[in-house]
């Protein structure tokens, strides 16, 4: 057994996987990763099934140390500085920490969450099929709370496989797609205001909900409805007219009208939007949302095929070209220099 020691960590750092589904009828929120694509990317690089439990890091930096044996790690999601002792590690690439080596992660840039996956996963026990932390419900493994300095995580020793890298597909800062409803008829013309508006995310947001700041959304018949079920991405509008997008630690039911729902495929991209960066919503039909879900599933399934062993480069001419135009120094043999494209999991 190897160990990963948490030597310094900010708030909002916790073990998360795909989430805990099946008990929402008893009031148990699903929890789970804020950005599923980034979680899957980190796990794929580490040699794990895509939704293996990993460490979700919020915007702050962190340091970890390996103990007793080698630990293979991979980081995906928000851009941040990555160093092993004094060596700089490119993003989206696995690496192995030898015992005593220190992994230093900087603060998030341009996005919010990163996922630190460990080969073999983190030892622990699932509750309702998940190790995701939900401190209020006393759930999460190996500890039922956010990680703290001094935590010692049991992990499998790194195997002998080659280190892997992955070139994520660049993606434009498109609007966040929503399906209107289930209570859009409580809003009348304010639906247009919602869709035309430029929005930002309040810094008071967390894993339960993202508070939006933008134009006032007025209700037609008051803001109290009889509580009904919520989903990840439900956009409820309380009395002050400023919407709240419900995230994985949400209450399973809510008593404010819901004007629209962020579609699952865009929820990670939405979660990665930093406070104060302007964005818009775009309404699509349920049928279009289903096509988006199918495309997103294909993209997740395609992750292993896009991975290459470090040192066995397929030169990506398009990426080299665009990186050169952008004025970066580019080397065809150093993945870290040409992977300067915006990552799909880092752009709003």
């Amino acid at each position: 057994m190897s160990r990963l020691i948490v030597t310094a960590v900010g708030p909002a750092t916790s073990v998360q996987d795909a989430g805990r589904f099946g008990a929402q009828r008893y009031g148990l929120p699903p929890s789970g990763a804020m950005d599923r694509l980034a979680l899957a990317t980190a796990n794929t690089l580490a040699g794990n099934p895509p939704f293996t439990a990993a460490i979700e890091l919020g915007p702050y930096g962190a340091t970890f140390t390996a103990e007793d044996g080698p630990v293979r790690i991979a980081l995906a999601g928000a851009a941040r500085g990555i160093k092993i002792d004094d060596r700089v590690l490119p993003r989206n690439q696995s690496a192995t920490l030898q015992p005593g080596e220190r992994l230093t992660l900087g603060a998030a840039r341009e996005a919010v969450f990163s996922y630190l996956a460990v080969e073999g996963g983190i030892s622990g026990e699932a509750a309702f099929g998940s190790r995701s932390v939900n401190a209020r419900a006393g759930l999460g493994s190996p500890v039922a709370r956010p990680l703290q300095s001094g935590d010692r995580l049991d992990v499998d020793p790194a195997t002998e496989r080659a280190e892997q890298t992955i070139a994520s597909l660049p993606i434009a800062p498109d609007p966040i797609r929503v399906v209107l409803g289930p209570q859009d008829d409580e809003f009348g013309d304010a639906v247009r205001t919602f869709l035309d508006g430029v929005w930002t995310i309040s810094p008071t947001s967390d894993r339960m909900g993202y508070r939006l700041e933008g134009p006032l959304i007025r209700h037609r018949n008051g803001h109290n409805i009889v509580s009904d079920g919520t989903v990840n991405g439900s956009i409820q509008v309380p009395g002050n007219g400023q919407p709240i997008v419900l995230m994985p630690d949400r209450g399973t039911t809510g008593g404010y009208p819901k004007i629209a729902t962020v579609i699952g495929p865009d929820l990670g991209r939405f979660a990665q939007t930093p406070p104060r960066r302007p964005f818009r919503f775009e309404a699509i039909s349920v049928a279009e949302a289903r096509q988006a879900a199918i495309a997103f599933a294909a993209r997740l399934a395609d992750l292993p095929a896009r991975m290459t062993a470090v040192g066995q480069f397929e030169v990506n001419v398009a990426a080299l070209h665009s990186a050169n135009i952008a004025g970066h120094a580019v080397s065809a043999v150093d993945a870290g220099t040409w992977q300067s494209e915006p990552r799909p999991d880092q752009r709003p």
């Binding site: 289930p182 009904d228 919520t230 989903v231 209450g251 039911t253 879900a293």
Partner: protein
């Protein structure tokens, strides 16, 4: 009960859920139809449905959009919802002890005064009805009950409390509730029960099901303390009675 129903509304909740809405307001017939559809789906599962969340007036149906599309699922749910309701739904019945008033129910006296009742009369009226678990939500084990005596309807508190104790028994509007874990609440706190409706490492982890029925009965503070210790060891405490 009406022989014919309006079909429920099929409202999209994103790409992976349908809200099957039977009513806009709290409505006992609507809640029965919600629970009946929920049970029908448990008995005759539709491939692609991943879980359901019954509430007072609607059934939230989560589904996998890779397995089934909205229109197909909406048609199937509409057909199921058109089936006649069973004459009586099988329900488990529970007796739940409550320590009313004092430190366990800090709003009892004020709520009684607002309602023009003595605290004893409020307790008697709260403990008299048979309630049905209309839904469970918000936080783990928080059970929303229908069946409150209309004489006990009170607007919610103007200022919600940020933290109320585990086991709180409260009323708000036309609703009564059993709260399991500590958390915020804008309802009026009448008492506390030692019963844990949610407890990890106990079988069952969740004690109550939507559709269950229950009565409250008063216990004194000493009995509450004994029961609470037993509940902390994993005892169920709530008494299940043949209905």
């Amino acid at each position: 009960m009406a022989a014919e129903f309006l079909p429920p509304r099929m409202l999209p909740s994103g790409d992976a859920a349908i809200t099957v809405e039977f009513a806009r307001r709290i409505d006992d017939d609507a809640n029965r139809r919600v629970l009946a559809l929920d049970r029908l789906l448990a008995a005759e599962p539709i491939a692609g449905i991943t879980e359901t969340v019954p509430t007072y007036r609607s059934l939230l149906v989560h589904y996998d959009p890779l397995q089934i599309d909205f229109a197909t699922l909406a048609d199937q749910l509409t057909a199921l919802a058109a089936r006649p309701l069973p004459d009586a739904m099988a329900a488990r019945h529970w007796r739940i002890p409550v320590a009313y008033g004092f430190e366990h129910g800090i709003d009892l006296d004020e709520a009684a005064a607002t309602l023009g009742l003595s605290p004893e009369a409020l307790i008697a009226r709260h403990a008299a009805p048979t309630y049905r678990v209309a839904m469970i939500g918000f936080t783990p084990g928080w059970s929303y009950l229908s069946g409150l005596d209309p004489a006990l309807e009170l607007p919610r508190r103007r200022e919600p409390r940020l933290n109320t104790p585990a086991g709180t028994i409260s009323i708000g509007g036309v609703q009564a509730g059993v709260q399991c874990i500590a958390g915020p609440s804008g309802w009026h706190l009448l008492g506390r029960t030692p019963v844990r409706t949610y407890r990890l490492h106990r079988d069952p982890v969740f004690l109550l099901e939507p559709g269950d029925t229950l009565n409250f009965y008063p216990v004194d503070a000493t009995t509450f303390a004994e029961m609470d210790r037993a509940a902390a060891r994993g005892d169920i405490i709530a008494e299940r009675v043949a209905s």
